[in-house]
């Protein structure tokens, strides 16, 4: 039926056939190529412009960030005083029970230079590499909780596989009850993060928090991960289907914290150091209380 379809550009048709063959070959054998090098090159190519865009965004939101951070600082000061007391108590109890001390990771901040993955973000490209202390396997965090782990590092860039990557499960446990499971991103009728491999006999409630498990080989224990939003039953009837909402807003993060460098020997400082800090914190609080009203909370 001549005229029903637009005329075809023959050169374009040949080009399409060649390109499709090439794409099919890449799809079949692409895993034999140095894909991480290509990912690194792409990230490095886009990084300078991404950094500039991030800087512009940062300037645009600086004012609201400053007021939000001021509120958070005030809340954290109160929280710090409580934590110092709790730390003292914890150190004393650990000493009484003879518990060994946990290591504390040294956290460094890295800018997210790019986000990849469709339809959900699954990879962050970081503006930092091996020269900045990044290594494959390190945990990436946001202030709210776990983000993912470093899966590729070159000299100047690195990639982080996010919690939403179906190939990056995380061993977790429910805070308080210690129920263990494996956090995985799953598709299905309701795509999202699920705590899997939890028997029905283990009770998990909506609202409970989950954190990385002490049994995890990849992450330090106790990193907050998310909150239980839905508890159901797997189709098999043997396991619970527990939906998790991550604390970290993975689609909006601009910087991540990565645990780089050697893990410090003690999670909590020595009791005498804590006591000194507690005294100092209380002295600060008293000083702030005595200060004239217009100097308190000034930005």
């Amino acid at each position: 039926m001549p005229g029903a379809f637009p005329p075809v550009d023959r050169q374009a048709a040949v080009a399409l056939v060649v390109v499709e063959l090439l794409c099919a070959l890449l799809l079949l054998f692409g895993n034999r190529l140095p894909l991480s090098a290509m990912t690194g090159a792409t990230a490095a190519l886009l990084a300078p412009a991404n950094s500039t865009l991030h800087w512009i965004q940062g300037v645009a939101t600086a004012r609201s960030d400053a007021s939000r951070l001021s509120r958070e600082v005030a809340q954290l000061r109160i929280e710090r005083d409580r934590m110092v007391d709790a730390g003292l108590e914890n150190a004393r109890l650990r000493a009484l029970l003879g518990f060994s001390e946990r290591g504390r990771p040294s956290l460094h901040t890295f800018q997210v230079a790019g986000v990849a993955g469709e339809p959900w973000p699954i990879v962050y490209h970081l503006a930092g590499g091996a020269g900045d202390g990044l290594r494959v396997g390190q945990a990436a965090l946001a202030p709210e909780g776990l983000v993912g782990r470093v899966t590729r590092v070159d000299e100047n860039t690195a990639s982080v596989a996010l919690l939403t990557d179906p190939n990056a499960p995380v061993a977790c446990e429910v805070v308080g009850t210690g129920v263990r499971g494996v956090l995985k991103f799953r598709f299905g009728t309701e795509p999202g993060l699920y705590l899997t491999a939890v028997p029905l006999t283990d009770t998990v409630k909506v609202g409970e928090r989950i954190a990385t498990s002490a049994t995890s080989l990849l992450f330090p224990a106790g990193i907050p991960v998310g909150r239980v939003t839905q508890v159901g039953r797997e189709p098999t009837g043997l396991l619970s289907a527990i939906r998790i909402e991550p604390f970290a807003q993975l689609s909006r993060i601009r910087e991540v914290l990565v645990a780089v460098g050697p893990i410090e020997a003690a999670w909590w400082p020595k009791p005498e150091t804590l006591a000194a800090r507690a005294d100092s914190a209380r002295a600060d609080s008293v000083a702030r209380a005595k200060a004239p009203a217009d100097t308190v909370g000034r930005r």
Partner: protein
């Protein structure tokens, strides 16, 4: 293709790839983000014809696949085909009219997103079907609305009309 059109489209592509990498999530409304890759390729194909569409689809898709670090060749293959199809139709369309752009973008984005989602779900058809309404059709709709808006904004800012008939050099050779 006129040189000015080529430069404008090259700038459009660079800006789109950067925007996709950095601010695509900022553009999301109620969790629905536009498909900027298809947006780039469709406008390339409308302006430059089938050959430009194939080339743009391949390059843009390859960058996206390399950035994601998986399924290398998937996006480039789909976008090349989209570029060819849209480019071949370009001369028969009122491509400078936003409604025509809307229709082309909606179908092109639906096809691209559906193909990518199928691979993202590792072939799980149940998951694919359940994710279609939000992850494919709503995103395609958003993309189809955003594209003409950007075009109209460009024109309002005084940019040359790179979709006007007579600009493209994609006439089939006999």
């Amino acid at each position: 293709m006129a040189r000015a059109t080529f430069y404008l489209l090259a700038l459009w592509t660079a800006a789109g790839l950067l925007a996709r990498s950095s601010v695509a999530q900022m553009l999301s409304l109620w969790g629905v983000a536009p498909d900027l890759l298809t947006l780039l390729v469709v406008f390339w194909a409308l302006a430059g014809g089938a050959r430009a569409g194939v080339f743009a689809g391949f390059v843009v898709g390859l960058v996206a696949d390399a950035e994601a670090g998986r399924f290398l060749g998937l996006t480039s293959g789909v976008l090349s085909a989209i570029g060819f199809g849209v480019g071949s139709m370009g001369n028969s369309l009122h491509r400078e009219r936003p409604p025509a752009q809307f229709v082309v973008l909606f179908f092109a984005a639906s096809i691209t997103l559906a193909a990518r989602l199928l691979f993202a779900t590792y072939g799980d058809l149940g998951a694919w079907v359940s994710a279609l309404p939000v992850q494919v059709f709503l995103r395609a709709l958003y993309t189809a609305v955003l594209g003409p808006l950007v075009y109209v904004a460009f024109r309002a800012l005084g940019a040359p009309d790179f979709l006007a008939h007579g600009q493209a050099a994609a006439q089939p050779r006999s």
